[in-house]
Amino acid sequence: MDSKFITRGLERTSLRNFSVWVLFWVVVLGFGLYGAYLCLAEGLNQTNMDNRFVFGLWIFLDLAIIAFGAGAFFTGLLLYILKRSEFTAVINSAVVIGLICYSGAVAVLAIDVGQPLRAWFTFWHPNAHSMLTEVTFCISCYLVVLAVEYMPILLKNRKLKERPSLLVFQHNLHKVIPVLAAIGVFLSFFHQGSLGGLYGVLKGRPFAFREGFGIWPSTFFLFVLSAAAIGPSFPLLTTSLVSKISRKKLVKPEVLQSLGRISGWLLLAYVLFKSVDTLVWINRTSPSLLFSPYEYYNQESFGTWILFAEIVVFGLVPALMLLTRKIREHRGWLITAGLLACAGIAVNRFVMTIQTLALPTLPFDPFLSYIPSWQEIATFIAVIAYGVLLYSFSFRYLTLFPQERDLNSLTR
């Protein structure tokens, strides 16, 4: 009944199934928004954050999903700038995921901030030395870029194509996309880096403090590299997930494999840099601030195993898996390697946000622990639900995967 909107030649579930799916996620979204409403109306005392744990679940997951959202800029870089045309198959899906991750992260930040109505102060009275100003400027600009990149995909919808003005606008916009992609790469380089720089510059937190080059700490470059490394893996995961749910072949396997290979190379480079940075930090940076690195890891919940897991288990292993052809060919192993890589980045973001705040800085500080409250978790579930809804509608009414039509025989 809504087939007039679905692109010709693509098979989609019946509207009834789809509306059941949407209804479920709308309920989840409602529950999440109720949690968010409580945080806004009652105040941030609804969360379990406190004067030591100033950042909690939200900032950790914000950093993580913005790193996952790096798929948009990296696939754009590969396709439009490095002219690797085989990635046209995933670019639309990557852009939609990027838009979801960034808009979700910004929405959660609006709730995480104590006075959201004063958010424009950061633009009106910017402090150029602060990494957070740079993050705020870049993320809002990149959100605009992503929205503009989403427009052509939206306007290619079968019904919207009918209107001449929209068709013309979409056609001309498509011509301009490579420039937008370039801007996107430039902005992403800076805000992914600045999200890392947020913690690298904190000389007051020796666990997170790193020296670097010029005004940027080494975590700036590590975060960019890790985001770039995850750039290809996350679309790989999402595409496999969507194809499993929709029971359709969406992308040629070679595309996923080349995504995996690139992600492998970058992950290997990242692991190398990360190990060098950790050794420099353990032997020179931290002792120079009279904080012996051993103390960071003698807490019960954060032993040295977390450092080993982040660098080796979730870093080196997936990198090697992605680089060996045999493993890459096998679809199951490819997905596991992607999952491991994404988990590695999530652990890195967790260590940077939660462990930094948990560790004592004053000699008489106790080691504190933090468990998110249900409102925090609900707010984040709202973001996930919003993402799933936006992706479901885009997948149903827009052509996210051009190769889908050729791959699936047009039989029901």
């Binding site: 109505l117 004063r118 106790p366």
Partner: protein
């Protein structure tokens, strides 16, 4: 066509108005105004404007009577600060005093009388006017008057100190069989113990540490609360280097952390140490020859004599009993005896025999001698010297279930009464308790009538200085708010109840207003022609003689000045009775010392740790203090917190416990849960628990004393075992 036209037109219209909206100042002004609005939300209080003035008064929250300099903004106090006070010498306010002006706005403040009736689903309260309440109570008093067998009438005075207590005693003397009850332990008990050991019994004493070089403190909380601590703080503040403090405490209290030396003693064995020190002083003839000459029983060594007792406490044995190394005992005794003038002090709430042995030490080193720190002082001139008054009886001595009607005067903020003891004294079936307090009764305090009285600083109150001060002094606590509503004082309620019940015959000052009573007190002081007046405004002192009339004297006192008596020329030089004057007191002391001999405290293996009880937010839980005290008791863990068990690092390691771990504390009588905290100031083989945790693990309710130092005494020691809680 028309439908397309209208749809496209609507779009065009929307586009046009959007552009218009952006070009108009509306969005930008709204953006700016909304962010200013977040600064001026209606629930953010607006600051009052007006000239800044200063007003001098004195604080009535505890017997110290500290002098207050209130910073006022157009007749409303903003903050209170200490004012210079030559009599006690200190010019600081404790943390509760600093927020005294908040008590008038305390959340549980009541403005009209209440009657509470116990119903099946809890207590229901109904409001009634003060007159009706007084009428009801008067009727009950009248019944008691007519049929005495129904029970007795009594007034419980939380702080028996000063002019108001005298008036209440005088009023009560007119009611047949009325009792005037005072708490078991109240200020000055330590000083009054001296009377039984000196020749002239009626003499009252004070402490003057201005020349003292050594202070030996048996578990006294030196830097918090009232009593001795303001005197110590003043010397600590001005003569830090030469004022040597030796603190004897079973755990590292805040006093011992700041003291020069801390002697960690096994709890409950302080008396053995005192007698051990006396043994060394007598043994090595370190005592002050003058006071030795005055000491009567220094020579006789009959059984039960002083010499016989001290012989039983050689340093070796004392070391084994108290856990203090022998050389430390000898060194302390020598330091205490040689570095004179020296004084030993004990707590008002300490056991009687410990106080007695501390005074022995003082006599030996001449603290009560000519240049010692114990000085004689003349009592405050009283206008109603000869008036007949009912003698105060201790709550302990009141027979159980004897009271039919009890009036509680809670004008002082620190109602330290333990409610079950009070309840035990009341008649079982129809007993009536009347609470005269500015605040609602707290949870667990079952009260029948509540009559509102003035909160601190709302009315004029006489404020004589504390017991321990070297010279008695007098100042008036003038109100901070000019427009204090009607309200009244407890003694006015008592007077109206007593006269309404027909018991009152004649009393010339029955109908007097508080100001007139104060004027009487001022006349009495003025006629004594003694002492000096100190005005904090310009910090200068003038002799009383230079004041023309008692009216001017009263006026200067109302502006915040303070009168303090002249020092007594001769210090104590009468004979000293080390074992106490009467043979019965000597007998009692000797038996308690001998009884101590064989009451060794030994823990059994299954419950190795001794519990050291500490009052955590005692001040906040018992007395009514300003909500701002949450900064200390709720928003920081400066004071010991009730959900924590504090262990020394070694003890924690020995029992394989780690900080922030949930544990279960087992005692022979029960178990309770807590979280482990490591604190090296806790004695190694003990665990420091808070009062609220004690109820579950101790056989009897502990006697809780409300000094802000949080000192708590339990009848007998409690031993526990700590295990990790399976979470």
């Amino acid at each position: 066509m028309s439908s397309a036209l209208s749809r496209r037109n609507i779009l065009k219209l929307a586009g046009g108005s959007a552009l218009g909206f952006l070009l108009s100042p509306m969005p930008w002004k709204m953006l700016d105004d909304i962010s200013i609005w977040t600064q001026n939300w209606s629930w953010i209080p607006k600051l009052r404007r007006g000239p800044v003035t200063h007003k001098y008064t004195s604080c009535t929250l505890c017997p110290n009577a500290c002098r207050v300099n209130a910073r006022m903004i157009s007749e409303t106090p903003v903050s209170l600060w200490g004012a210079p006070d030559p009599c006690v010498g200190h010019s600081y306010l404790c943390s509760v005093g600093l927020a005294g002006h908040h008590l008038a706005y305390h959340p549980s403040r009541v403005r009209n009388a209440h009657r509470f009736t116990a119903t099946e689903n809890g207590i229901s309260s109904e409001q009634l006017s003060v007159e009706d309440a007084i009428a009801h109570i008067a009727k009950i008093l009248h019944n008691i008057h007519v049929r005495p067998e129904e029970g007795e009438f009594a007034l419980f005075d939380c702080r028996p100190h000063g002019m108001v207590s005298d008036i209440q005693q005088i009023f009560l003397s007119h009611v047949l069989g009325a009792r005037y009850i005072v708490p078991d332990h109240h200020e000055g008990r330590f000083m009054r113990a001296l009377m039984e050991m000196t020749e002239d019994p009626g003499q009252s004493y004070g402490l003057d540490f201005s020349r003292t070089r050594t202070l030996l403190s048996f578990g006294v909380s030196l830097f918090e609360g009232w009593g001795i601590s303001p005197l110590v703080v003043e010397q600590f503040r001005s003569r830090r280097e030469e004022f040597n403090i030796i603190q004897i405490d079973h755990h590292q209290s805040s006093s011992s952390i700041v003291a020069d030396t801390h002697i960690a003693i096994k709890p409950g064995t302080e008396m053995a140490l005192a007698l051990g020190l006396a043994h060394v002083i007598v043994g090595e003839r370190l005592y002050d020859p003058a006071s030795a000459a005055r000491a009567v029983d220094l020579k006789r060594n009959k059984p039960f004599s002083f010499m016989d007792l001290t012989r039983r406490f050689p340093p070796g044995r004392v070391a084994s009993v108290t856990g203090i190394p022998e050389d430390v005992i000898v060194r302390t005794a020598r330091e205490f005896a040689s570095n004179r003038p020296a004084t030993a002090i004990a707590d008002d709430f300490a056991p009687a025999e410990l106080i007695h042995s501390v005074w022995i030490l003082n006599h030996l080193v001449g603290a009560t001698g000519k240049n010692g720190s114990v000085v004689q002082k003349r009592p405050l001139p009283q206008p109603w010297k000869g008036a007949h008054r009912t003698p105060p009886t201790r709550l302990r001595n009141v027979p159980d279930h004897s009271l039919r009607l009890l009036m509680i005067d809670a004008s002082a903020a620190d109602t330290t009464v333990s409610w079950p003891d009070l309840r035990r004294k009341m008649r079982a079936e129809n007993a009536t308790i009347v609470l005269c307090s500015p605040y609602r009764p707290k949870r667990g305090e079952s009260v029948d009538y509540l009559i509102p009285i003035h909160a601190p600083y709302e009315t004029v109150r006489a404020n004589p200085s504390g017991e321990y001060v070297a010279t008695s002094a007098f100042q008036i606590s003038t109100p901070l708010w000019s427009k204090s509503e009607e309200g009244c004082e407890t003694w006015q309620i008592l007077q109206r109840v007593v006269s309404a019940s027909g018991a009152m015959t004649k009393e010339e000052f029955a109908q007097l207003e508080p100001e007139e009573l104060l004027r009487l007190q001022c006349d009495a002081i003025f006629n004594s022609k003694r002492g000096t007046i100190h005005h904090p405004n310009n910090d200068e002192t003038i002799p009383l003689g230079s004041v023309l009339s008692s009216g001017d004297f009263y006026a200067t006192l109302m502006e915040g000045a303070a009168w303090s008596d002249d020092g007594v020329a001769t210090s104590t030089n009468g004979r000293l009775f080390l074992m106490g004057k009467s043979t019965s007191s000597a007998q009692r002391f000797a038996e308690s010392v001998l009884a101590f001999d064989n009451a060794g405290i030994d823990s059994n293996p299954s419950f190795p740790l001794l519990v050291v009880p500490v009052g955590e937010d005692v001040a906040a839980r018992f007395g009514h203090v300003s909500p701002i005290l949450s900064k200390i008791y709720q928003e920081s863990d400066l004071k010991p917190r009730s959900r924590f068990a504090y262990l020394h690092h070694e003890t924690a390691r020995r029992f394989k416990l780690a900080a922030e771990q949930r544990v279960i504390i087992h005692s022979p009588h029960g178990a309770t849960e807590a979280i482990v905290r490591c604190d090296s100031s806790v004695r190694p083989d003990t665990v420091q628990l808070s009062v609220s945790q004690l109820d579950a693990i101790s056989p009897t309710r502990p006697r809780i004393i409300n000094s802000y130092g949080g000192r708590v005494y339990t009848d007998q020691p409690i031993f526990v075992r700590i295990e990790r809680a399976r979470s």
